[in-house]
């Protein structure tokens, strides 16, 4: 990664972190759907980034959100596990070759359908993990599943709309 790319990722992380703690944490649709946007950085980091660095970024993002949300350890653990699942999930939808091993997961590089599958899987897995850790009780399994489904769908739509902002507009004649 170039210095500019590193700077862009840090800036994106800060913006998404603030958006998460100041806005998204306070939005709960129908008492079950909460948008989770800060994991976008983990999802978008290049595939060839070292795993140790990926774990560090994921853990740090999670701890920062936990610090602001009084959920110490919940997001940190879920983010670290999400970092570990990133490559297996991605390569479940795209072939593992020289080209894909060095790419950044975006709509333009993966194509719309594989990217949507990758994004939806990552978001759903994260929501399931975070709500399971947070409730930590099999008696609440119905709540966990409902909140995971609602939050996954809501977060997926928001992250996809963030992605659409980064797609360059087609040139008109």
């Amino acid at each position: 990664m170039t210095g500019k790319e590193v700077f862009n990722y840090i800036a994106l992380s800060i913006v998404l972190l603030l958006a998460q703690v100041l806005i998204c944490n306070h939005i709960v649709l129908f008492n079950l759907a909460m948008p989770i946007v800060f994991i976008y950085v983990i999802i978008r980091l290049p595939v060839n980034l070292g795993m140790s660095m990926l774990y560090t970024v994921a853990f740090t993002s999670g701890v920062l959100v936990d610090l602001f949300s009084d959920t110490m350890g919940v997001n940190a653990l879920a983010c670290t596990l999400l970092g570990a699942l990133k490559r297996p999930v991605l390569f479940a939808y795209v072939p593992r070759d020289d080209k894909t091993k060095t790419m950044t997961p975006t709509i333009s590089q993966l194509g719309l359908a594989p990217y949507c599958k990758y994004l939806l899987t990552m978001v759903t897995v994260y929501c399931l993990m975070v709500f399971s850790i947070e409730f930590f009780n099999f008696a609440d399994i119905k709540d966990v599943l409902l909140m995971s489904a609602g939050s996954s769908a809501f977060s997926f739509l928001i992250l996809l709309s963030i992605d659409s902002l980064s797609i360059p507009a087609k040139k008109t004649m």
Partner: protein, 282 residues
Amino acid sequence: MRNLLNFIIKYGTWFVFTFYVLLSCVLLVSSNAYQQSVYLTSANVVSSSVYGAATNVTGYFDLRSINESLQKRNASLESEVLNLKSQLAQCMVMLDNNSADLRREKRFDFVSASVINNSIRHPRNYLTIDRGRKDGIEPGMGVVDQNGIVGIVNVAGDNTARVISLLNETQHFSVKLKGTLFIGSLAWRGGDPTIAYMEEVPRHAQYHAGDTVVTSGYSTAFPEGMQVGVVLNRVKSTDDNFFILKIRLLSNFKGLSTVRIIKDIYRQEVDSLKTFDNITEK
């Protein structure tokens, strides 16, 4: 030695992963203890300053100042009403005893505060207020808004404090049906932030839908008679001797802005009596 180094280099990623997972688990488990360090809560300096700045940007300045002054006025009036009530009760007793000493020390005082962070979606919710130890706030003090009780102070920093919300599955409050002696334990069970449950209500208790539920006064956190909610209906209980009432909470937790913290000047005295009980029991 070289083999060890090679092993560490080869499996370094796994070591990093395991380290972060273990660290997360330690944080997760340690955060369940009530007495956390102030630095690991939303009442720490960085979080509270960020939330404070955000509140300043999003708040309507004029409305806030007017609201705060009204809240202060309301707090002083409420404090006066409570103290007058207690003085009246004292007078009645003293008149019966033909005593002339009608003066009684003021017991409860209120401190007004703004909510700078609030959550309602977790199973264990907290809120952060912009008053701390410098304003006399201590852990264990009750927090109310204009409609009813809100929670109990959990951690107090110098300028901010974290409050365990009523919307926290681990926290129970002693309540009773207004105008009766039927005591119960108020608990939130997650989900809807407007609904809580009054548990352990004696089987012979009389109630009607719409009855008001108030604090019992059996703690130093809340004086007796502060509004909590209204009875909706009875729900199934596993214990035949008690039943559970479904309560609609009066406080609007989605729109909390200004709250009041209750100071009980007898708190230390009551707590010291509890300590005395523990010593004698041993």
